[in-house]
């Protein structure tokens, strides 16, 4: 039907505008359908999460107990912050692999400086109260170095942060002598151990930071500029967005979030192992992609990323409750990631990018 209308338009190019409405109903209907679909994509994992709830309850009645759920949230809170950080970076079409080393190094440096000499490899230069500022500052500095290489020198983010991953891990091994820091100062333990209103502080921090992420990325010009940069950086520049400045902020923020994550983790474990955070980055990428974040930039939401990591941890929890031997959890985790990706490919309708 659209062809006849266009033919008519072709015959009378002079009498003003052809009626575009008569011309594109099909496109518009399709557009509307896809639109609804795009919104659904954001909620695509909700049904899966509900199914996991039911399955979990059938496997073990403990599953839906508040204590168990809070436990799940607490164990995932640290890695969830990394997912949040990686989400920001992926949306601007960059990558940051070094996040997992930052998780170890930032609190590691704080512990090194504050743990009294003699205990492990501490040097005890600073009083314990300095540990949190030191942790965040180290995160900030790592972010600045990353941004310097990636933005100022225009190097490939994947390779730069791969290098950083190795360097930072090495520094932590160096300062700790490959040992674990114990006897952390009180301030470092606080966030990992305190309860606020009946929930662990780390859960609150995680949820609050995700809420801020949702608001910033969905409802501020700054947040939208991340999508613009990831979608088409030239168009973003043409629209007057200071792309380099936004990228700087994103990369540095991601590292600071990783440092925060490290702080929560070492607080909960009351130690900083030299391998802290090792291998996290794979789970982080998997959760982000399952949650609908595109590796090609410009696509996905913070909420989606949150459902991604939540789903992964719920499944792990169900497996543990179901009595799956710990030795097999790793293999199952990998399989779950692949299945979840296949599912999101089906619900997303498009090839994974």
């Amino acid at each position: 039907m659209s062809e006849s209308a266009t033919a008519a338009a072709a015959k009378r190019p002079d009498d003003g505008l052809p009626d575009p409405a008569g011309d594109q109903p099909a496109t518009r209907r399709a557009g509307g359908r896809r639109l609804a679909f795009a919104r659904l994509r954001d909620l695509a994992l909700i049904p899966a999460i509900i199914v996991m709830g039911i399955v979990g309850q059938l496997v073990n009645p403990v599953f839906l107990q508040p204590d168990n759920l809070i436990n799940v949230l607490q164990t995932m809170s640290e890695i969830a912050l990394l997912v949040l950080a990686q989400t920001l970076v992926l949306i601007v079409k960059k990558m940051d692999l070094s996040l997992e080393s930052t998780v170890g190094l930032a609190p590691g440096v704080a512990a090194w400086l504050t743990v009294p000499a003699g205990a492990a490899h501490g040097v005890g230069l600073l009083p314990g109260a300095w540990s949190i500022p030191v942790t965040l500052t180290v995160g900030l500095l790592i972010g600045v170095v990353n941004a310097l290489f990636i933005i100022r020198f225009g190097l490939n983010g994947f390779i730069v942060t791969l290098g950083m991953l190795i360097v930072l891990r090495g520094i932590l091994t160096g300062i700790s002598g490959g040992q674990t820091f114990f006897q952390l100062p009180q301030s470092m333990l606080y966030l990992g151990t305190t309860q606020w209103l009946g929930m662990p502080a780390s859960v609150w921090i995680c949820l609050i930071l995700f809420a801020i992420g949702i608001v910033v990325l969905g409802f501020t010009s700054f947040g939208r500029s991340l999508y613009a940069i990831g979608g088409n950086v030239d168009a973003a520049k043409a629209a007057g967005i200071r792309t380099d400045r936004v990228l700087w902020i994103v990369i540095v923020t991601a590292s600071v979030l990783a440092a925060t994550s490290g702080l929560l983790l070492s607080g909960r474990l009351a130690s900083v192992a030299s391998a802290q955070g090792n291998g996290y980055i794979f789970t982080v990428f998997a959760a982000a992609v399952i949650g609908g974040i595109s590796l090609n930039g410009g696509k996905g939401t913070v909420f989606g990323a949150f459902t991604g990591i939540l789903l992964l941890f719920l499944i792990q929890n169900v497996l543990t409750l179901g009595g799956v031997p710990a030795q097999w959890i790793g293999a199952l985790n990998g399989a779950i990631i692949l299945v979840a990706l296949a599912l999101s490919r089906i619900t997303g309708g498009k090839a994974q990018d």
Binding site: E3, S4, T6, A7, A9, A10, K11, P13, D14, G16, L17, P18, P20, A21, Q24, T27, R28, A30, G31, G32, R34, L35, A38, V215, G218, F219, T220, S221, R224, S225, Y227, A228, G230, G231, N232, D234, A235, A236, A238, A239, G240, I241, G298, K299
Partner: protein
């Protein structure tokens, strides 16, 4: 109106990039309410002039004025945007974001608490599109729009900044006939509302249809500016090429030998959703056109022949053999050469050299199995460069560094590298300057002379004119066959689904 200062004026502009002079003492004056054409072959300096007029580059010498006032500083992006906007060939729409957000990117409406009020943004976007009669749902992701809607969106966005001078850089390159007509209708409409256009196109017909004044650039210089009505086509072409070339001077090829065997036979091919019961034959030495609008299915038929798609039913035979459907290697092996629809997309690998690109289809000829002999490859490449007159310092030049016409020649060279029995060309001259176009089409005739069967799937009348016969597709069916010597209007009518014969 005519006494008012020109909307935009550039005088005595010189711009150098390193040792190349992109513009030498060039000028252009665009009067209010005009639609002004800027033409020239690739490399004539058009793009440089556009980047200077839009404030992306500062000229080394010379001045730019808008409405008689000097242009804003380069850093004052808002100042430029209020005066001039350019709709580039390369879209500046962000596909992942909605239409509304694309319109108000980085200037969203804030509600309470400094947060974006999406409701206001959508309402304003809706209002804006309604003002300029663009019928698109503002909540659609921009990536879902077709090329035509995207262009309208970019024009509307430009107008919303307050600019009333809009540069259209080859807006029709990716549109089919009907969409071009709608674009022109809109241009005329906006022109009545006081919008001035600078229109850049390779299609001279379009310039005669839509423009008032034409400015010709050649070799970085201004050649002439004249009212379109007073400039015969031959003179315009001559001004562009710098030679006394006249239109249609190409020698007529003798018709194909009617006894030569069929090299391409398509029988009863159907692909659900794009074409139905398509049958066609091409003899050796024959040039057959496959005409139709962009959505008519002609491209799908051509892509089926080369193995990019597989038909649901029906057969494709190439020189008697029947290659496995849906397999490009099988089609190539059977003797197909192919120039794809969009050279940027499917035609070449931009960062690879001419030599590598040109010989992508024939690795087996470049050395012992599995190996590539660089010297042999370069020999092939040099032959191609000479054969197709590709303008380049040498075969090691990456294709991304060539002009559009020369890039298309590389794609053509690749198609010819395997000495095909059947050559399938989709829109072979899209986005190519006049001279390269003449050259490419001449080359096609030469190839046909040597006994190759050629199928040209295009809606460009110039491509189809040299065909021995033209099959016209409409809504997935072959609806007409025209022997050589058709009139433009009957072919266009058939492509649009209007049958004048009955």
């Amino acid at each position: 109106m005519s006494t008012a200062a020109p909307v935009a004026q550039a005088t005595a502009i010189t711009k150098r990039f390193g040792s190349t002079v992109a513009l030498r003492d060039a000028r252009i004056t665009i009067a209010h309410g005009q639609t002004h054409a800027l033409v020239g072959r690739n490399g004539a300096g058009k793009s440089t002039l556009v980047s200077i007029l839009t404030g992306l580059h500062a000229p080394d010498e010379g001045t730019v004025t808008f409405n008689g006032e000097p242009a804003p500083r380069l850093a004052d992006r808002d100042g430029w945007r209020q005066r001039v906007a350019c709709v580039y060939q390369k879209s500046t729409i962000i596909p992942e974001l909605t239409v509304a957000e694309n319109l108000f990117l980085n200037r969203h409406d804030r509600g309470r608490g400094g947060l974006i009020s999406w409701r206001t943004v959508r309402a304003k976007a809706h209002e804006l599109l309604r003002t300029w009669s663009v019928d698109v749902d503002v909540r659609t992701p921009a990536g879902e729009l077709d090329v035509e809607q995207r262009q309208f969106l970019e024009i509307a966005r430009a107008l919303s900044f307050g600019a009333r001078f809009i540069i259209l850089d080859e807006p029709t390159a990716q549109l089919d006939g009907a969409a071009i007509n709608r674009l022109f209708a809109r241009i005329r409409d906006l022109q009545r509302q006081g919008v001035t256009f600078l229109f850049i196109s390779h299609h001279l017909e379009e310039i005669y249809e839509i423009c008032d004044t034409v400015t010709v650039f050649r070799d970085a210089r201004h050649i002439l500016t004249a009212p379109v009505a007073e400039l015969p086509r031959a003179e315009l072409v001559a001004a562009m090429t710098g030679e006394g070339a006249t239109e249609g001077a190409r020698a007529r090829r003798r018709p194909a030998d009617s006894t030569s065997p069929d090299v391409l036979v398509v029988e009863d091919a159907t692909l659900d959703g794009s074409y139905e019961n398509v049958s066609l034959r091409v003899r050796g030495g024959e040039i057959v056109g496959l005409a139709g609008a962009a959505s008519s299915g002609r491209i799908d038929v051509a892509e089926t022949i080369v193995g990019l798609r597989a038909a649901d039913t029906g057969t494709v035979r190439i020189a008697g053999a029947r290659p496995r459907p849906g397999s490009v290697p099988a089609a190539l092996k059977a003797g197909v050469g192919f120039v794809p629809q969009d050279r940027h997309h499917q035609g070449y690998v931009p960062e690879m050299s001419i030599a590598d690109n040109g010989t992508l289809t024939i690795p087996e000829r470049l050395g012992p199995p599995g190996f590539i002999d660089g010297r042999r490859r370069d020999t092939y490449a040099r032959a191609m460069i000479e054969n197709l007159a590709i303008k380049t310092p040498g075969p090691e030049m990456p294709v991304s560094g060539l002009s559009g016409g020369n890039q298309q020649k590389v794609v053509m060279a690749r198609a010819l590298a395997s000495d095909p029995k059947v050559l399938v060309l989709i829109n072979p001259t899209a986005g190519v300057d006049v001279r390269s176009k003449e050259f490419l089409l001449g080359k096609v005739e030469e190839i046909a002379e040597s006994g190759t069967g050629v199928l040209i799937a295009s809606d460009e009348l110039d491509d189809l004119r040299m065909c021995d016969r033209v099959l016209v597709m409409f809504q997935g069916r072959v609806v007409a066959e025209k022997a050589r010597g058709w009139h433009d209007h009957e072919l266009v009518a058939a492509m649009e689904g209007v049958d004048l014969d009955v």
